[in-house]
């Protein structure tokens, strides 16, 4: 749509077009320099042997970094742990618990709904590192979880040592469920009451109603939510860093932590960047799928 004809200043069409896109310039410059730049640089560095130790020249090494990665047990371990972490905490944990909370909230009484919502959302709003410390205290030997197990006369355990990947997955569920809960609450609110009521009159039980009516109606939200949870979880660093530093050994070392260790502890920026590029590619793939889900609405 163009300006109304009564627009007071008449300029040549070219000037007008330039003036119209001018406000985009600051954002565009920042995005190109600080987001586009690093991505291009990432794609370049991944094929070099740049090291942290201030060597003057890095040389182009082709696919060596990638070949190395796929023969590196530590890398494959990180891929596997990332997969476990993502599936457990994002796809199963946050997503299911978020949907369950949103469903229950529709039936619960107002005070309980407000209380639960408040607590779950507080966990989400807390800074990542604080969340890490709280869950560290919860899972460590002599922490709250062990105190609870003690009440039940079960043996105590340092969960960060025995099952580190499970502990950080639970931590991520604790921290991230609110997002799914909010997405699903909004989605469920949009289902007209009549549909649920008529299904009820027809005698459809709770689970069948959920499966045949509710879930199909919110399937777009489910797709969006799964995708965003996955992307968010793929880039978790601080939470795991604070709780376990990726350890003990490398037993909770997901890809971001592996990448960091290679680049800075082992001084191999080139190799670390190759891993980063792989992570970025996986992220982009999910991102494209996510955009297709939203496509009709742009």
């Amino acid at each position: 749509m163009s300006h109304p004809a009564s627009h007071p200043v008449s300029r040549s069409p070219l000037t007008r077009r330039v003036l119209r896109v001018l406000p985009l310039a600051p954002a565009l410059v920042l995005l190109l320099l600080f987001l586009g730049g690093p991505i291009v640089y990432c794609a370049y560095l991944a094929f070099t042997d740049l090291q942290l130790t201030g060597q003057a020249h890095s040389s182009f090494v082709g696919l060596a970094n990638f070949r190395r990665a796929f023969h590196d047990d530590a890398f494959l371990n990180a891929v596997w742990l990332t997969l476990v972490f993502t599936v457990l905490s994002a796809l199963v944990g946050q997503n299911t618990l978020g949907l369950a909370l949103a469903t229950l909230m529709r039936r619960a009484s107002k005070p309980v709904r407000t209380l639960t919502g408040g607590i779950v959302i507080t966990a989400w709003v807390l800074p990542e590192v604080v969340a890490g410390f709280l869950l560290y205290a919860f899972f460590r030997r002599e922490g709250t979880l062990d105190a609870l197990l003690g009440l039940l006369h079960l043996p105590s355990e340092n969960w960060l040592f025995t099952l580190p990947i499970l502990a950080v997955s639970f931590a991520n569920v604790w921290r991230g469920t609110a997002f799914s809960m909010l997405v699903y609450s909004a989605a469920l609110d949009e289902i007209p009451n009549e549909i649920e009521e008529s299904a009820e009159v027809d005698g459809a039980g709770g689970w069948r109603r959920m499966w045949h009516i509710t879930l199909p109606m919110i399937r777009r939200s489910i797709g969006t939510n799964l995708m965003l949870n996955t992307l968010q979880t793929l880039s978790v660093f601080g939470l795991i860093w604070v709780m376990t530093r990726g350890g003990p050994g490398d037993r909770s070392q997901t890809l971001p932590l592996f990448m960091y260790e290679q680049a800075f502890q082992n001084s191999m920026i080139g190799y670390g960047t190759a891993v980063a590029l792989l992570l970025l590619l996986v992220g982009s793939l999910f991102s494209v799928v996510y955009m297709r889900l939203l496509r009709t609405e742009v």
Binding site: M1, P4, H7, V9, L19, R20, P23, L24, P26, A27, L31, F34, L35, P38, Y41, C42, L45, L101, R106, R107, V112, R113, T116, I119, V120, I121, V125, P127, E128, V129, V130, A131, F133, L134, A137, E142, T144, A147, L182, V183, A186, E190, E200, S221, T224, M227, L234, V236, F237, G238, V242, M259, A276, L277, L279, L280, G283, S287, M291, V298
Partner: protein, 276 residues
């Protein structure tokens, strides 16, 4: 449905929610109780006494004031830049039709969901090359760029909600686009502006990885990084002080969230934000 059945269903839902709430509240209770407990350790317990000692101990320039001020400078600066650039960028995207709008918005949406963590190693290498490493302004610029995609996206959708007719009146009075943006559009989308601002600020306030990578000198570190110093010498962690600091550091973002919670809650369908 008979009333008794409805009531029992409500009771079941209440119980279910309360179980989850109890599990979620334990770590939160630990931090609140330990902050005022003179003998805090790792587990949730009723404090054996009440003290402001932990707060007193952390409320020093080195431990609290400097890191919080650093956080405020970093996040405040980046938030102002983000919101300013996003408001400017959103205006032509929302008001004028152009062949470039769609590809631009799609790229923005794509960038929204990229894992920023993945590019931090190249960003570090790049910042070393161009001498921006360990500078506050460099970190602010990167923070801004990382928040811009989502901020532009949200801002554009909120701006779409302001009817064009209101602007046309101003145009006939001789206002140009810039005046109409500042005097009419932005004030009318106040709530949306608040959501974008608070969201950007909260995301950066809690961000650990970006300052951890891009800043090196301890005296420039924001609270998200300096909090790790409590674990400096392992074995002798003062949990009470750690908890007290966590409470101080987290309070601003919780208050800010409460400020916009209602608006965020109602408009939280990401789909809704997409549809605008």
């Amino acid at each position: 449905m008979p009333r008794s059945q409805r009531r029992s269903r409500r009771l079941a839902a209440d119980l279910g929610l309360l179980v989850v709430a109890a599990a979620f509240v334990l770590p939160l209770a630990w931090v609140l109780l330990s902050a005022v407990d003179p003998h805090a350790d790792l587990r949730v317990k009723i404090p054996d006494g009440f003290t402001f000692g932990n707060l007193d101990a952390v409320l020093t320039p080195d431990i609290t004031y400097t890191p919080l001020l650093n956080s405020l400078i970093l996040c405040g600066g980046a938030t102002v830049l983000t919101v300013g650039c996003a408001a400017l960028a959103a205006y032509p995207l929302s008001r004028y039709r152009s062949r470039l709008n769609r590809p631009f918005l799609l790229s923005i949406l794509f960038a929204t969901s990229l894992p920023i963590t993945a590019i931090m190693v190249p960003v570090y290498a790049l910042f070393v090359q161009i001498n921006l490493i360990d500078t506050v302004q460099g970190t602010i610029l990167f923070f801004t760029a990382s928040q811009l995609p989502f901020a532009i996206w949200l801002m554009k959708n909120f701006m779409d909600g302001v009817p064009k007719e209101l602007e046309e009146a101003a145009w006939t009075d001789g206002a140009n686009a810039a005046q109409s943006l500042v005097r009419i559009v932005l004030p009318l989308m106040g709530p949306g502006l608040a959501v974008v601002t608070v969201f950007a600020f909260v995301m950066m306030w809690g961000n650990f990885f970006v300052p951890f990578m891009l800043l090196l000198s301890p005296d420039q570190m924001p609270a998200s990084v300096s909090i790790n110093d409590f674990f400096g010498n392992r074995g002798s962690v003062a949990y009470g002080q750690l908890a007290a600091f966590s409470v101080i550091y987290s309070t601003p973002v919780i208050l800010l969230y409460l400020l916009v919670a209602r608006r965020m809650g109602s408009g939280f369908t990401l789909g809704g934000a997409v549809k605008g």
